[in-house]
Amino acid sequence: MGRDPKNRTLEICVQRLQSGEDLEEVLESYPRWSATFRPILQAVQAAMGYAESIHPDEDMLEESKLIFLETASGNIDYPPRSSRRNVFRVAIFLFVMLLLLSISFWQLVRVSSENLPGDFLYPIKQLSEYLRFNTASNSSGRLLLEYTYDEKRIREVEHLLSRGESQEVNFSGRLEWMKIGEWMVGDMRVLIPDNTRIIGEIQTGFFVSVNGITHPEGVIVANEVKMREYSLEGLVEEHRGDKWVIENVQVITSSETFLHGEPDVGSDVLVIAWRTAGGELVARLIETVVR
């Protein structure tokens, strides 16, 4: 009908009739087309009357519904079955994806275990160590892991030095001796220029943490040095004199140890300790923890 005004007018007339307007009123609005439209609109009015007279019987509707539902019950998969199947498929898919991801991740971890700082997969190695540390079941297990990782860092730095590579490293080792501008940490020479940040009081005979750059000449130039601190949490199992056993780990106290909250056997405590060259843990702080 589109652009033809006559056809547009006819459509409007039909709509007005369908909205309940009187035929004569509608025709009066369009005298130009009145004669042409009259038989059409009379037919439309009759057709509308015919359509309005059609009402399905309620009994027939109910009978049809019964037949429909009966037929459907044998042919349509209802949602519960379909949903269970979909959930099962999704579960299988997720399981397979998880398995593949796990395999891929552990393959990467295996490959990355020999990586050194600066290598592409080194962050994966750090991530796997972090995950392992945080999933350790107890405090003594975490402490042993820290010892292991300290040893690994030392070996990595030794590798880098042997290759003559320059790379930023973080490691912890025994501080054997200190001279002006040069320290010996874990059998490695660490240069301490004036701009090195030294945090806290550093003592020989203990483990220290070093952040620095390996130098091709076989030394490490330190950016920052601090005492290596180990933390331990758990129940005090024994306490005799300066010897404490916490979570099966022995810790000794010194005159510099700060005891906070009157810790004793049975107390739940947090310990911050330094590690001596001989492997003893010397507590700096033993603090009761209220959970």
Partner: protein, 185 residues
């Protein structure tokens, strides 16, 4: 399922996801629409009921397959109804107009006044013969237009044609119908 929810079902695939209660509501929503369409074209209670039931049965059969399930549900239902109606019309006697008048008068005589019955009688007496001279497509359009209270756009969706073609069809159908009605009346 409310009427609103029934209307959310837009394609055949979604019908497969309906549970039993939702299927009941689906049926109750579409049965009167299909019945009115079929009756408008055939003018016979028995045939209209049978064809409407057949449309629902065909729907169940179709849902068992895998193809064409993205089709609009209304378009598919009325397309099936149209095919069944046209098949039926080939073997239908010319006396169906009188048949409808008899059925209508019997059913409503107790509720309607004489003037109303007479008016309806006149409508039915001339409408169906006038419709019978139109093409199947024109009858289909008019049946959708007058029994479903649909806009041109909605009819275009149900018929699966453009709005432009619906407008063109409307002009032809109304003009032919008006002329035939005028002659008969």
């Amino acid at each position: 399922m409310s009427r609103r929810n029934t209307q959310v079902v837009e394609n055949l695939n979604e019908v497969k996801r309906l549970n039993r209660e939702e299927l009941k509501a689906f049926h109750d929503h579409y049965y009167p629409m299909l019945y009115r369409y079929v009756y408008f074209r055939l003018g016979d209670v028995q045939s209209s009921d049978e064809i409407t039931i057949q449309v629902f049965s065909k729907l169940i059969g179709f849902l068992g397959g895998r193809r064409g399930l993205s089709k609009n549900i209304g378009a598919w239902l009325f397309d099936q109804a149209k095919s069944l109606v046209e098949k039926q019309m080939h073997g239908q006697s010319a006396s169906s107009a009188q048949n409808h008048v008899t059925q209508l008068t019997t059913r409503y005589i107790s509720r309607q006044d004489a003037a109303s019955i007479h008016e309806r009688y006149q409508n039915i007496r001339f409408v169906r013969p006038a419709l019978s001279v139109l093409s199947n497509q024109e009858q289909h359009y008019l049946a959708l237009r007058f029994t479903q209270s649909l806009t041109l756009e909605e009819i275009a969706v149900l018929m699966g044609i453009s709005i432009r073609r619906v407008r063109s069809l409307q002009v032809r159908a109304l003009t032919s119908f008006g002329q035939a009605f005028d002659r008969i009346a």
